[in-house]
């Protein structure tokens, strides 16, 4: 009997010890602290703050990008420690709907906000007149190509139209069957839906019309998907490729083109260990259907938010201002290629004279918000688009049927 009592006591102690929390810290969540290219900067941002604020220490709680929204929602609902977070701009609506975000204009000086950010950037973080997001980095998802591979394949000019693009892909494929001419994302909803939307726009189609009706099954959309599937059928793109796969394959020097955000050259440096990757990566405008069309790109960016669960909004606000501050913003740009939005950093010659950043600016000029992003159910809509496009790619549905199903599911999702 004594033995059993001992076991039970031990278990009780164990269980109790589980419930005793550690010393209280403020928590910053996101994904950049988990990725090799950005991790050192996140650590630096924390270290510089923590050194000066012994009474308000911040700690990082991170997840991979693909899990962040899910974990953020779960965590913000559970009353667990969570003060500030990094978010993808397209999650803002969902988080606003969940009513977990603090209106930053109530905790930050309005003059500071207006003095440091351009109006349009601030507006991107507003919902119903509340400043829920603080812009951190903003650019677009564009296309990049591998100049050295293209040269080997005999492609002399950067393709500007779909026809030229197809010719370039064919040339790459003929160069070496091991090459993936275009590492389009075909796997996770987080990337695939957005990338596909850019092609939809290129074909003059879209997910919604101006009145909010679902038009993803329009003739031009079907034409677009049919074309996209033809890329797979001709061996130009592959199934089961995520953005991370694309980056990794790109670093192996077996990819001709792919879609990514502005900091992809920084990632390539990290992945290859090379100091200078200019010969291997170059941004380009997305090919257009007919000469004279506007090349499409989707706006992309990260924001910082404060959560209502914060225990110290004063320090949380000061911490956010610390993170977006000029010096760190410039550092973040130099180290990881994250384009700053804070005025002083934008105007700094380091950014102004950067060749890569200037090239990317030409892409961002055409940037538009992803069409699912205004919806609280953005993640669900992205999943639907991804799944139906995949179904068409794999031939289990015709492009028409897949997009009809997508339209029906999107309507169901937003109606209820």
């Amino acid at each position: 009997m004594k033995r059993y009592l001992a076991v039970v006591t031990m278990l009780l102690v164990l269980v109790l010890s589980c419930t005793v929390g550690s010393a209280k810290e403020l928590v910053w969540s996101g994904w950049s602290g988990e990725e090799a290219a950005t991790k050192p900067m996140i650590e630096k941002m924390l270290a510089t703050w923590n050194a000066e604020h012994p009474d308000a220490q911040f700690a990082w709680v991170g997840w991979p990008w693909g899990n962040t929204l899910e974990q953020l929602i779960i965590r913000s609902q559970g009353g667990e420690a969570l003060d500030v977070a990094q978010i993808d701009i397209r999650w803002l609506t969902a988080l606003a709907e969940a009513d977990v975000l603090v209106d930053l204009s109530t905790v930050m000086d309005k003059a500071w906000l207006e003095g440091n950010f351009e109006e349009s950037y601030l507006v991107a973080g507003q919902i119903d007149g509340k400043q829920l997001g603080l812009p951190w980095t903003l650019a677009s998802i564009g296309m990049v190509f591998n100049p050295s591979l293209l040269e080997q394949a005999g492609v002399e000019e950067v393709p500007a139209t779909i026809a030229e693009f197809e010719a370039a892909l064919e040339a790459l494929k003929n160069l070496d069957p091991g090459i993936i001419p275009y590492a389009a994302t075909t796997k996770d909803p987080g990337s695939m839906s957005a990338d596909f939307q850019a092609w939809l726009w290129t074909f003059g189609a879209g997910v919604f019309d101006d009145n909010g009706n679902v038009v993803i099954n329009s003739d031009s959309a079907v034409e677009c998907l049919t074309w996209f599937k033809s890329l797979l059928d001709r061996g130009y793109i592959r199934m089961d490729v995520s953005r991370f796969d694309a980056r990794e394959l790109y670093a192996q020097n077996v990819v001709g083109f792919y879609d990514d955000a502005v900091m992809c050259n920084g990632i390539l440096k990290t992945n290859t260990g090379l100091d200078n990757v200019d010969a291997y990566i170059e941004p380009m405008l997305r090919p257009v259907l007919t000469d004279g069309d506007a090349p499409q790109s989707k706006l992309w960016g990260h924001m910082l938010v404060m959560l209502k669960s914060t225990t110290d909004s004063q320090n949380a606000a000061a911490f956010l201002q610390h993170v977006v501050g000029e010096e760190l913003a410039l550092d973040y740009f130099v180290q990881a290629g994250m384009l700053p939005v804070v005025q002083a950093a934008v105007n700094n010659p380091i950014v102004q004279d950067d060749i890569w950043a200037n090239k990317w600016l030409q892409i961002t000029v055409y940037g538009r918000m992803g069409e699912t992003e205004g919806h609280a159910k953005a993640a669900q809509l992205d999943t639907i688009i991804t799944e139906e496009v995949q179904a068409a790619l794999m031939g289990s549905k015709t492009p028409k049927k897949a997009l009809d199903d997508a339209a029906r599911r999107i309507e169901l999702a937003i109606r209820y």
Binding site: I73, A98, K187, M239, E387, Q390, M394
Partner: protein, 297 residues
């Protein structure tokens, strides 16, 4: 302790017995029965992960489910996954058990190593098979190319049929040792005299198998098949690691679908409604299970 003994004396035999079952009863009620009933109720509300509180919405969630063009596919996927993994893993496990039961030197050791597969964490198993099925550097492609069976690499996880096959093979690999262990124990309990007698009557291997082995192991086969089906119906982690239910929902089973609806779409009500349909479906199954058990005992 003393006091307990005294108070024990005062209790009647059946009161004491009931008292022993009480902790289990409490745990069962709190974290199994109540959640089940509450999740049922949730299926008729608009409960969301984003907002507290819920309103009764009648059959709206069910209407949404039935209007979804892909819902049938989820049920079909579940059926295919459960049937294939159970059948494949069971038969491989059975053959492996019979092979190891032949008493070859080293069988004991092989049995031990086989069991290791069962305790490797499911997540790690998912990683392993993802790597084997990898479209670019996977060993399966290399082997098939080496044998001249394919010319170009196949992206196994990027096509509906092969993605399902891949998760089935991975899951079957995980459970094979479990079937083997039970079946081996069952084989060893088959009375040897009966086998001998059959041999004297001139029975072939096949005859011994169908006339002696199978009848003797009827109960255990029934039991592990039921448990296998239940386990596979619940299964989540290997699928989640390898495909997250994709591509295009080709490997989305009920477990994955409920999880996605609840924690990625935040619609707890709809997720619960699918759960209701699921439980209704397995009740049919449960009915036979219990009836059979009762008859046997």
């Amino acid at each position: 302790m003393k006091r307990k003994v005294h108070s024990g004396r005062k209790l009647t035999e059946s009161q004491f017995g009931f008292l022993l079952a009480l902790p289990a009863l409490a745990v069962f009620g709190a974290i199994i029965l109540y959640p089940l009933l509450n999740s049922f109720a949730m299926g008729f509300t608009n409960q969301s992960l984003l907002r507290p509180g819920r309103q009764y919405v009648g059959l709206l969630n069910f209407e949404r489910i039935f209007l979804d063009p892909n819902i049938l596919q989820v049920f079909v996927n579940t059926f295919v996954f459960v049937a294939c993994t159970t059948a494949f893993s069971f038969s491989m496990g059975f053959i492996w058990a019979m092979v190891l039961n032949q008493g070859l030197r080293g069988s004991e050791l092989l049995r031990g190593i086989t069991l290791v597969n069962w305790i490797i964490p499911g997540t790690a198993i998912g990683f392993l098979w993802m790597w084997i099925f990898n479209g670019q550097y996977g060993v399966l492609n290399a082997l098939l190319r080496g044998l001249g069976l394919i010319q170009e690499n196949i992206t196994w996880l990027g096509r509906p049929g092969s993605a399902m096959a891949a998760v089935v093979i991975a899951r079957a690999w995980q459970t094979l040792p479990w079937y083997m262990a039970f079946l081996l124990a069952g084989l060893q309990a088959v009375p040897y005299e009966q086998v001998e007698a059959a041999r004297i009557d001139g029975a072939s291997n096949f005859g011994v198998f169908t006339r002696i082995v199978l009848p003797n192991m009827k109960f255990i086969i029934f039991l592990i098949l039921i448990l296998g089906v239940i386990g596979n119906l619940q299964h989540f982690d290997i699928i989640w690691v390898m495909t997250q239910g994709g591509p295009a929902q080709a490997t989305t089973t009920l477990a994955v679908e409920v999880y996605r609806r609840a924690f990625q779409n935040w619609e707890l009500g709809v997720a619960a409604a699918i759960g209701v349909l699921w439980v209704l479906l397995i009740s049919i199954f449960a009915f036979f299970y219990i009836r059979n058990l009762e008859r046997d005992s």
